[in-house]
Amino acid sequence: MKKFDKERLLLAVAGPVMALVAAILLTSVVLLASGKNPIEPYNLMLQQIGYSDVQVLIINQASMYYIAALAVALGFRMNLFNIGVDGQYRLGAVMTAVVGAHVALPAVLQVPLLLLVAILTGAFWAGIAGVLKVTRGVSEVVATIMLNAIATSLILYLTQTNTWGVQVGNNMTTGIMKKSGWIPGIDLGSDVGEIYGLVFLAAIMGVLYWLVLNRTRFGFDLRATGESESAAAASGVDAKRMTLTAMLISGGVAGLAGLPLLLGDSHTYSLTFPEGLGFTAIGIALLGRNNPGGIALAALLWAFLDKASPALDYATPVAYQKEIATIMQGLIVFAVVISYEVVRTWGLRRQQKRVGEELAAAARNNSEKKEVAAR
């Protein structure tokens, strides 16, 4: 029995490892094709890990990736493709920033209020897609993509000076949030930087994600729906309600994705607030196999590629384009999708074969014993 467990673990690791190796090899091919040294850039990037300010950047960035990827993964676990994480987290951040700038409660109330605003905004935005899917059969992929575009326009409107916007130089912001809503980070000195306080929220959410999915009845129903909708329906899962619930939770989690930055550093939503987090998160959730531990590693890897690659531009004696990291990220997503499918089918077939063998062996033993007894 243990043997099958160990094998499952091995198979789970084999997919990402194969994908990474393939992505690195292919990136090297690209480097070679453009007449560059195929190994040196990796060296340069790895050296960056040694600097503590880069470490802090990576961890901070990863925390946001992690939350967004959890939101995507939650959808994936029941075959919902929430592409709208991007719109959900941006809208969540805007609303939080606005509330944070206009409401001043003591910190014990202000922080929970802000978190709640972010969750509700994200859930509301994803819920629109959920309701459309449940009542009208609109694919959540299409609906969430549309909602992303609408979110962009909505945010432009919300940040205009005659709504809630405050102009600071060339930048449109939502005004500085009240201090009681700021979440202090871990200060590691002025030349190193500060780790966002909400990094811990990301970690807690990872634990919760695992706990809910693997240890609760609700999580079982959700996973069952993802694995076989028909079997789940026959087992008593209300597919429509589950779709809507999953969409709401996914959106709620997504709403939190921008908060480590917002509450920990920028304290306002502005035009420079990062975009595209939600799309990156899709790749991270894929690489992490929708598993909280895997997603954490994938988020760190992605953040590392993001934060270590700028150094390539300034490398001496030969500079490299930092877009190499982008190429690699793209290749990883490609390779991941392919290698997982290969490993999955191979593993399933291998297990079927081994089960067959073990049973045949058991049967042989039995019949041999019988023959001996007969003599």
Binding site: M1, F4, D5, R8, N214, R215, T216, R217, F218, G219, F220, D221, R223, A224, E227, S228, S230, A231, A232, A233, A234, S235, G236, V237, D238, L348, Q351, Q352, K353, R354, V355, G356, E357, E358, L359, A360, A362, A363, R364, S367
Partner: protein, 556 residues
């Protein structure tokens, strides 16, 4: 020709020897998971043996793909037909072999020739979607012959046919063998095997255990060879029917979902019927029409019918996957019509689904998670809102033990078990929750003889303790042997009833095609409180003698 084969160490085949002579029908029987399918896949080039050889006409061959097998004159008719519905018979036959006789007149001539020669009676220009199951099967056979096959492998060809169609198939097979072809016939149904085969090879646990000559063998001996031990005595028909109604269905009607008008257009033969069937709703087809019955504690009610005549809809309505458009379902005095599936299951409705892969299992999840499926809110699977994983795993081990599920452990995926063992797990799971009403759809489909007897025993035992069972099965012997009352479903209605003590499979078979609707005349009425409801169904039946082919069409 002779095929000898030897290959230890593969999944389920070790040291198999099989030789098939020209001009014979050679039956291959064995428990599910015994390795028949693997062997056939190897013979047809879909898998390679690890060891051993195949010889055709004395010449040793290796197949690396089905194309190689076809080139050597070996053809296979799969259990699930591989035809394109929107193409004609001609196009389906020619597809992939355009080089042989072209795609036009030459091909048509060849098809006619083969059809006439073997009495297949295939019309080349009909659309496949307009054909019944039996005709489709003949097209599959013709497809294989068209490619020049001299050895035909038929995988469970009778599973989808009613008795009359089986007879027709067998006369086709006799035709084939008289022309010098060899037929390998895989089946579970031992009676059929004995009637059509010239030789029988029995496979047990991956190896050939012997051959038998039909004239000197009884089904029982054959079954014992397959199982390797003496069979438990079937059937001690002592009635356990009580007068406590468990499930009371009244005038249950369900309309076809969505494209009801589409259905009417694509079925010209049903045009006349529709006016009678659904005058109030215009074009909507009733997939279940005014179905009324009562099942009492301790009673097994069997439903016979060609697939696609409303069985699926009936099951869905009972388990709550489909809502009733009108009518009510009563369960132990409660009106459960508005209940959701989960509540029905929690309150004691057990469900053995007709398609275990679609409705009964999470194939890629471990066995213990499959133990939880469908009973996630109940003990021993849950404590409050939390899963009780330890409890579920312990209980899975108990089920594996008690129901003889052959598996190396409870952590393997459900997909790695053979069909029979998957089914045993499902039966064990459902029975573990002490259901008061069990929906058993094809409970022994694709299950070996040994497991079949075990599942029947489980049902009988639970029946003694007051379980009410709705049994839906394509296996008429099973229906007759297990049921206390029998109904025939045709075109969404319960059109006939029969007493399982007197009815024969042939009589049931003809009622299933709609030929004998209403009361089966020479059959005594079922001797319990259900007759009044039968008349309900019978009175409103539309007799239509020309329409005997319709159920097959609808089945597709």
């Amino acid at each position: 020709m002779g095929i000898t084969k030897r290959f230890p160490g593969v999944v389920a085949n070790s040291d198999i020897r099989l030789s098939v002579r020209k001009g014979t029908v050679h039956a291959l029987v064995g428990e599910n998971g015994a390795g028949k399918s693997t062997l056939m896949k190897i013979l047809y080039g879909m898998q390679k043996p690890d060891e051993g050889t195949i010889a055709v006409d004395g010449e040793q061959v290796t197949f690396s793909s089905p194309a190689d097998a076809i080139a050597r004159g070996i053809g296979m008719v799969h259990q699930h037909f591989m035809l394109a519905d929107n193409l004609t018979v001609l196009e389906n036959v020619v597809l992939g072999s355009e080089k042989l006789h072209g795609i036009g007149g030459g091909a048509r001539k060849k098809i006619k020739e083969i059809s006439d020669r073997y009495g297949l009676n295939v019309r080349p220009d009909l659309l496949v979607e307009s054909l019944g199951v039996a005709e489709r099967q003949r097209v599959e056979i013709l497809k294989v012959l068209y490619r020049g096959a001299r050895t035909l492998i038929l995988d469970e060809p009778t599973a989808v046919l009613v008795p009359q169609e089986v007879d027709a198939l067998f006369s086709n097979l006799r035709e084939l063998k008289s022309e010098g072809l060899a037929v390998i016939f895989i089946s579970h149904k031992l009676g059929e095997v004995l009637s059509v085969a010239d030789e029988i090879t029995v496979i047990r646990r991956g190896t050939t255990v012997g051959t038998a000559v039909p004239s000197a063998t009884t089904p029982r001996q054959l079954a014992e060879m397959m199982v390797g031990s003496e069979l438990p005595t079937p059937e001690t028909a002592e009635s356990t029917v009580t007068d406590t109604p468990v499930i009371e269905v009244k005038s249950l009607t369900v309309y076809a979902a969505g494209g009801a008008s589409l259905g009417a257009e694509s079925e010209p033969t049903a045009g006349g019927l529709l006016g009678d069937l659904a005058p109030a709703t215009g074009t909507a087809k009733r997939v279940l029409d005014d179905v009324t019955f009562t099942i009492h504690a301790g009673e097994v009610m069997g439903i016979a019918g060609v697939e696609g005549n409303g069985q699926t809809e009936l099951i869905d309505a009972l388990i709550g996957l489909k809502n009733a458009d009108s009518g009510t379902i009563g369960f132990l005095g409660d009106d459960i019509t508005p209940w959701a599936t989960r509540k029905r299951r929690e309150k004691g409705i057990g469900y053995i689904p007709e398609d275990r892969h679609r409705h009964g299992l999470l194939l890629e999840a471990p066995l213990w998670e499959n133990r939880i499926l469908g009973h996630v809110t109940e003990k021993p699977n849950a404590k409050g809102i939390w899963l009780d994983i330890k409890g579920a795993q312990a209980d899975t081990r108990r089920i594996v033990e008690e129901y003889d599920v052959r598996t190396p452990g409870i952590d393997v995926t459900a997909a790695s078990l053979s069909g029979g063992n998957q089914q045993k797990l499902i039966v064990g799971r459902e029975m573990s929750h002490k259901p008061k009403f069990l929906i058993a759809a094809h409970p022994t489909r694709g299950v070996d003889v040994g497991a079949q007897a075990a599942i029947w025993d489980q049902i009988r035992e639970a029946r003694r303790e007051g379980l009410a069972v709705l049994l839906i099965s394509a296996d008429l012997d099973e229906l007759i042997g297990l049921s206390d009352t029998l109904r025939v479903i045709y075109d969404g209605r319960l059109v006939a009833d029969a007493d399982p003590a007197t009815v024969t499979p042939e009589e049931l078979g003809s009622a299933m095609t709609g030929a004998a609707s209403g009361h089966l005349e020479h059959v005594e009425e079922a001797a319990d409180g259900a007759e009044s409801t039968v008349e309900n169904g019978a009175d409103s039946t539309v007799e239509n003698a020309d329409d005997t082919a319709a159920p097959e069409d609808e089945a597709r």
